[in-house]
Amino acid sequence: MSSRERILGRLRAAQPPAAERAAPPREPDRSIYRDYPARAEDYVAVFAERFAALRGEFLRAAGLAEAAARVAGLLAELEASEACGAARGLAAADPLIAAVLAASPALAARFDPPERLGMANAEMLPCLAGLTRARALVARSGGIVLDSGRDGGRRLSVFPPLHIVLARAGDYVASLEEALARRAGDADWSSLTIVHGPSRTADIEKTLVLGAHGPKRLAVIHVEA
């Protein structure tokens, strides 16, 4: 007998009678939480506040050119803090990202195109910035939902020390359950990740340190218009 049959057999033999196996309790809904953002027009402001509390950086850009300037500004800060030369980044495939990069040829030249997303692990070591969209931004918790299908794969948003997310008004949802409901039916991701702020650890005397293994800095640039 295989271990699979043995395990399932032992469970079946001890399983409670059918009457106790009724339908599962209802799915968790908003009623168990407090602080529920009620109005859709508040989502961006609520997100910005919660995201900042998690040490994320929330920036607004009036248009594509300003968004490009914001990205360039973040790269310049990174160069200063890491004491490195011109920081290079890698961008996910997305129309908004393409449009922002097209608005500044100087910036575009510093980003490898999406065709390079499959580069070998060793080649990724010098990549300092990942530029992606997000599947959803969660107002209630300040969370960002990314998937491996459309947000540049699994490495782009976690390996480089700086992760920049471009967002638009339609990307925001109230809560985690709404974000999960949006994604559940999709068939095109092998991995989905929900991010709350830059990477952190408190493993040494419960002292908070940012930038454990993932990005030390995480920025959302909210592009209006």
């Binding site: 699979r4 106790e20 794969g153 952190r200 408190a202 419960k206 993932g214």
Partner: protein, 454 residues
Amino acid sequence: MTARLREFRRAADERAADLVHRERIARVMSKSNAASETMKVRQFGDWERARRLAGQIKRHVLANLPDLLEEFERHATARGVEVLWAADAGEARALLLGLARRFQIEIAVKSKSMTTEEIELNAALEAAGIEVLESDLGELIVQLAGTRPYHIVGPAIHLTRAEIAELFHRKLGTAPGAGAEELTLAARDLLRRKFAAAGLGITGANFLLADAGAITVVENEGNARLTMAMPRVHVAIAGIEKVLPRLADLALFLPLLASSGTGQQLTCYNTLARGPRTAGEPDGPEHMAVILLDNGRTTLYARPAVRQALRCIRCGACLNVCPVYRSIGGYTYGTVYSGPIGAVITPHLEEQGRWEHLSQASSLCGACSAACPVDIDLHRLLLENRRRATAERKEGWFWAAALRAWAWVFSRRGRLDRLRGVGRLVRAAAPGRARVPRLAPRSFAQMWSDREQS
């Protein structure tokens, strides 16, 4: 008293008398508990209702466990995941080593996983000539120190910054007296190169989602994400009790685990994985396997009186609030899973007769049951373990007779009152011994009945 209980008490006495250790643990635990309490209130309108709902969902999971596991297997397999079943620790290790051989693995990185501690995976990999590095900072610290996790959520909470700095100085060549930030950076630099070079990434799983065929891994550092993103093979090892029916259940279980485990609203990264990279994806592993581990869980399942212990989501809250854990520390238990939940499950998971004495490591105050986010009645399960241990152990005739006599006397007030003469006799026989308490001339029950009649 068994030899094991005697040894446990000796070690516990010694640890409890170590005031430096106690002060250190109390400080960390108080910080955890305060953060956790604040977050429960801030996040949930009604924490009691939230944990009752979580307990109900988990009860449903246990009632339907074989079916949900098959559903998970069906959906995961359809996404290209290789689902394997391991009856015990030895089989789990053999399956993992088989995968490592098949893909010619030389270097493995591992993210934090108590299940891999349970099956003692690192030693097996090293014996097979495979280099394995812990990627979670706390786990890396205990790996370098050659010890095991002190706490199921905070593996290195018993060490000070100075001790860790000294360890890293010796093993990794960091500056002596380095600060927390510098130490974290040293681990980051070391692991970056390993993530890029490793062929195998090993994780546990906090949840298995039956309807999505996905595993879920909860973390803060990003090391688990990198473990699932960079190596060409990803293997997750999970206990069979980790299944949840629906992806949507994460909306409750992720915040519940975060507030109870680390006092966060949600941890920094909550990641789902269900298979190797798809045709449209630029990266990700070329192979993914999930090993479903029994290792005694079906034994626990077959004992209805303690089955609810399988609801556990390993948040560590019961350790943090336990006055016994806080006094004797994580290592004194001698088990992989320490604290109240460890004392409840270990006697069932491991060889019978070996760990029953741990049910004595409780004041039965019930703080663990009150803290449990999935509503496990932990202190009652400890009592159940005591009952079971007593029933299985052959006590001498004297104890059996004495306990029967005690029960006979104490089950009737009148019998107890008549026994008062015996008490006076004992006192008279030992004059001047203050330890024999003076008995009141009349018992409360007698005085009460006098009052009623007058």
